[in-house]
């Protein structure tokens, strides 16, 4: 009987355009679209930046050695055109108007200061909203500093090695996989959780509130099927659609990575592919399955209680935020899976997945997380069962 209900509800759900959009179309397309936009926009920005000639306004004389060296700086540092100014206010104004992107102020006595080995004050002006300009200024300064520092070492007959007290080496002992897991590992479960929730939402409302609203529930309740069987048949469809939506989102993400050259570094790409092993995917599903049941178990009592589709939607939609916020914990560095975090629903799934990706998962904590989620899933199913058994909730009036 459960399978009969499941089969009918599945057919009914798969014929609902709104559910199909939320369950299949949007999850599959969202990442390719976002990634495509990201790749296209960043490529066009890079292209524009490489071809764009930077106007540098200089407050100083043409015979200033630093200005001369700036003009002579290699084109590899970016195309540039130097314009001379005598009025600071005008230069500032032109930077604000974006007719000039960088302003440079060098004291006229720079040559004298160079000769006497004194530090020279250099001021760069830029518009902070014009992204990347400070970095361009730093690039030119790096070039000039290297040049003048080496010149001073030579003039003073100093071996640069003798004035450098330390040769510091910072070695990252973390593997690339661990780094990826820690830095980006929170993203994967976040997607799964967010889309899993959205994927469950419409079928849950349609199959419970919708059935009540359309008046089909009464006839169903007069058939020789126990209420728990009806509940489980419907619940299975909602869980399946949540898992399908989440899987579709992950597939969309995978195809984006695979075919859209989002990850240009071949080594990182190899690690990403290595992470997506069968074992990893199965463990991820093992964690996310009870989580999806938990979501469904939370949504069903609301959907059963609500009198109309609109009412159910208005209660369940804000829940999305409640679910997504703990899922974002995965993005914060430093929060790790331990005995406490393993007991916090949603957070435990995110952290377990993150550590799973990083290859640092402690299986004891995974078992604890799974146990917690399973208990909550069972509890939420029990609450759903109780709510679905109430006459006032099941029949419209």
């Amino acid at each position: 009987m459960i399978f009969t209900i499941f089969k009918k509800e599945l057919i009914d759900t798969l014929r609902d355009r709104r559910t199909l959009m939320m369950m299949l179309v949007i999850p599959v397309l969202v990442f390719p679209i976002i990634m495509n936009l990201f790749v296209t926009i960043s490529a066009s920005f890079q292209k524009e930046a490489a071809s764009k000639t930077l106007n540098i306004g200089v407050l100083g004389t043409k015979d200033n050695p630093i200005v001369k060296d700036l003009i002579a700086a290699p084109e590899a540092l970016g195309k540039k055109k130097v314009v001379f100014y005598t009025d600071t206010a005008l230069l500032r104004k032109d930077i604000e108007k974006d007719s000039v992107q960088l302003g440079l102020f060098v004291h006229d006595d720079a040559a004298k200061l160079l000769e006497t080995f004194k530090p020279i004050a250099i001021n760069w002006l830029f518009d902070g909203t014009d992204l990347g300009m400070q970095e361009r200024a730093e690039l030119y300064m790096g070039y000039l500093e290297d040049k003048y520092q080496n010149a001073r070492y030579q003039a003073l007959n100093i071996n640069p090695v003798e004035v450098k007290p330390f040769f510091t080496v910072y070695s990252n002992v973390a593997s690339d996989q661990k780094m990826i897991g820690q830095l980006a590992g929170g993203f994967l479960p976040y997607i799964f959780i967010a889309f899993g929730f959205i994927g469950c939402m419409y079928p849950a409302i349609d199959l419970f509130t919708g059935e009540k609203e359309r008046g089909t529930i009464e006839t169903l309740l007069t058939t020789p099927v126990a209420r728990w069987q009806i509940l489980f048949g419907k619940m299975m469809v909602v869980v399946l659609s949540g898992l399908t939506a989440a899987t579709c989102a992950l597939l969309g993400l995978y195809f984006s990575i695979e075919f859209m050259n989002v990850v240009e570094n071949a080594e990182i790409m190899a690690i990403v592919k290595g992470i997506l092993s069968v074992k990893f995917i199965l463990t991820l599903f093992l964690l996310l399955f009870p989580l999806t049941i938990f979501f469904v178990g939370v949504m069903i009592p609301i959907a059963v209680y609500a009198k109309t589709f609109k009412e159910a939607q208005s209660i369940i939609t804000p829940l999305n935020i409640v679910v997504v916020l703990p899922a974002m914990v995965g993005f914060f560095p430093g929060i790790e899976l331990n005995a406490i975090t393993a007991c916090i629903p949603v957070v435990n799934v995110v952290l377990s997945s993150k550590e799973l990706i990083a290859g640092t998962l402690e299986w004891g904590y995974l078992a604890l997380s799974f146990g917690v989620m399973l208990s909550l899933a069972m509890l939420s199913v029990f609450v759903s069962y109780k709510q679905y058994g109430k006459e006032s909730n099941v029949v419209a009036s």
Binding site: I11, R214, G215, T216, E218, P224, V225, E391, S392
Partner: protein, 252 residues
């Protein structure tokens, strides 16, 4: 046969409902001490104005609601103790019955045949019989959402009768329907009687009652006001017509 004894149904009122009704009572009695018998091969009518308790009574008979007290026997089965067994003998149709708009008539009928566990060979026989009887063959493959009200009502009838129930419950079956569709329902009720089924239907349309009814009960504010045969009702009338007599009894 349906046998109902001392049936009572109480509903707990929410704060909102108490406010709306202007009462401090936490409990509302929808049906109070109602008893009647519907014989096999007869049409029993449950009459009453809106809010009288007809739908609640029929929902208890159909096992959608559990009575607070009292007994219900459907085709020899205690429907309170064994609701699932009783449902196998029961067909239920209301005027407000919804259907699954995204399914076709065949899919809906098959779904209910599955739920009633109708054996495959009997199912095909019943489907063929009902589809022909109700002239449904032209729209069997169309989605229900695209059908007219009359066609939908035919699907509802088919769904109700697919397992050939011994007892059929009609809750205001013609409410909101056009004349032709309502006539189909009236014919179905007559057919059920001819097939020796137990039929109970609720209505407040006296012309339907006059046309179909063998026995009747009048219910008002949850209490039984009259119970007897239609012939007795007609012969003991104090008013010139059925509607006036019905109003008189309700106001007693």
């Amino acid at each position: 046969m349906i046998k109902v004894e001392n049936l009572r149904k109480e509903f707990e009122l929410s704060r909102q409902q108490r406010k709306e009704l202007g009462t401090d009572d936490r409990i509302a009695v929808a049906v109070d001490n109602v008893s009647f018998v519907c014989e096999k091969g007869k049409v029993f009518s449950l009459l009453g104005p809106n809010g009288a308790g007809k739908t609640t009574t029929l929902r208890m008979l159909s096992t959608i609601f559990t009575p607070t007290s009292g007994t219900i026997e459907i085709a020899g089965i205690d429907a309170v103790k064994y609701p699932q067994e009783a449902r196998k003998k029961l067909g239920f149709l209301t005027g407000s019955t919804g259907l699954y708009a995204r399914l076709t008539p065949v899919e809906v009928v098959d779904y209910f045949a599955d739920l009633y566990q109708v054996p495959k060979n009997k199912r095909e026989e019943r489907k063929k019989y009902l589809f022909n009887l109700l002239q449904m063959n032209d729209f069997l493959g169309k989605r229900i959402g695209k059908l007219s009200t009359g066609m939908k009502q035919k699907v509802s009838i088919c769904r109700t009768m697919i397992h050939d129930p011994e007892v059929v419950v009609f809750d205001e079956p013609t409410s909101g329907l056009d004349v032709i569709t309502a006539a189909n329902i009236i014919q179905l009720i007559k057919d059920c009687r001819d097939q020796n089924k137990t039929v109970i239907f609720s209505s407040h349309i006296m012309s339907e009652v006059d046309l179909l009814c063998d026995d009747l009960s009048i219910i008002h504010k949850g209490k039984l006001k009259y119970s007897g045969t239609m012939d007795d009702f007609r012969s003991n009338m104090e008013e010139p017509n059925l509607t006036a007599e019905f109003i008189r009894i309700v106001n007693l």
